[in-house]
Amino acid sequence: MKKLNKYCQVVINTIAESSEFRFNHLLSFLVIALPLIFMVLLWRKVLGENGQIGAFDLKSIITYYFLVVLFQDISYPGPFWEIIDHIRDGGLNVFLSKPISYPGYILALKLGINIPYLFQSALILVALGMVAGFSRYLILPIDLFHFLFSLLSFLLAVLCGFSLSFIFSALTFWLEEGRGVEVFLEFLISLSSGLVLPVSLYPKALKTFCNILPFRYVLNFPIELYLGVVKGRELITGLTIQILWVLLAFLVLRFIWKSGLKKYEAVGA
């Protein structure tokens, strides 16, 4: 427990620090959240009040996008600028000469930033939903069972997203210039994570492809679980794959971090 203390303190410090930028987040979140209104208009047009597409009806598809917007901040993988800067300008030195795990520090930092924002985003979204009139479409999980599993799956998604982000960012150890890998991955991730369209609605081949990749499990899977779109055998298989991906991503993170450190040449000899 004592070992966790320092990471908790990082979370606390980050919350204290990021609370100074609450307003910045509010503005940037609105940019992400406003298109939700267009999504609602679009799907209402496509489905009508009683239409159905795959396992989705109007309510579940709108709830789907609502949750995507809410959770993408915390679980969607992207570069950690802290890591990239620390590697490039030698700021990593500060951590290497202290008894603290750097990946642990970054995870705490991320949680400290994202947890308060998650609550803030939820409030903004609900308010937006009431103003724009789509809050009546939002639905609760079909039962407690699905709710608990989606909660577990969501936590795993955060861990998986974190490890993937860490891995991409730690590639800076080798790629001294350019972020080609990230640009390529961005496309792959937005396709297979369900950011644009629920993976369940994809054609079979594409769906199978997405089932194998880790990215579905950082966003789409827990949400489809919540909505009850994923159930029965698919739930068990999906959750198993998700757990495997979390473990694998963690192992790769460790490997990348260890070999990256070997490569690391502190700046300014």
């Binding site: 320092k6 620090e17 030195n93 290497l96 000469s97």
Partner: protein
Amino acid sequence: MSNAIVVKNLRKVYKRHLREPGLSGILRSIFAREYVEVEALRGVSFEISSGEFVGYIGPNGAGKTTTMKILSGILYPTGGEVEVLGYFPPERKRDFLKRISFIMGQKTQLWWDLPAMDSFILLKKIYEIPDEEFRKEVDHLAELLNVVELLNVPLRKLSLGERMKMELIAGLLHNPEVIFLDEPTIGLDFMSQEKIHEFLKVYNEEKGKTIILTSHYVRDIEKLCKRIIFIHKGQIYFDGNKDTFIERFTKNRLVVVNFKDRIPESVHRFGKVLNIEDKEVRIEVSKDQLQSVLQGIIKSAEVEGIFVEELSLEDALKEVFEGIQNEKAQ
């Protein structure tokens, strides 16, 4: 006294990749990346006893920071032996990291938007410092550095000098046994430098910690260190007492003469006259000719007083650096 640091034949080779300017350079670096090996340390050896305050100096790129980084576990050496407090630093054992501190004048470990106290609380948890000890240490250090009222002010609102003081507190909270100080006075004004000198001096005397200091400011070294290790091109150029360093690397002495009635015209014969004020003349005289010059002066006119002053560390360093420059030019 036991050795806190033992370094034997330490080597470090960096691999740097080359890229020519322009588009063709970029393309070439993608397909056939060329590397050069840069030898930052070529067999450095020294020992530092517990409680010593050592100035580790040398021109840019001499290998100072590389040595410090190896000693604090940040870099893996290419060859040689290194032991700090009985540990091999690059293993980065928790117990080892808890007993050292690397304070960098150019990198901050404090949170920019929070008061320094919040950063200290995090460090308290990182180093598992007991409450009582933590409070005592913060109070003591903040008082010594005169920043008690600033502990709860967001860091970004502090001046550079105040921030450096906080950085020092942050680095010393856990009572480290070996302290690596990398350019602690960089960018600070004269008064802030003085205060930091004073603090470090008191701290070293009071606690008897082992401190290695690198700095480009001669005054830092002059005020604080008895021993100097001078490194050049990855090799030790000098290791010993500061006074010996000055003695060895200055060819000249400063002679100050107070003449009784008048200054003889022949005074220019004795050496380079630096300045004449009233009846006092300051002359720079070559070390070998000191005896004969002194006799000559006494013979030339009636003298009221005559002293010989050692040149300062700065003068000695100037000589050494000039020597190094000439070496390069040849």
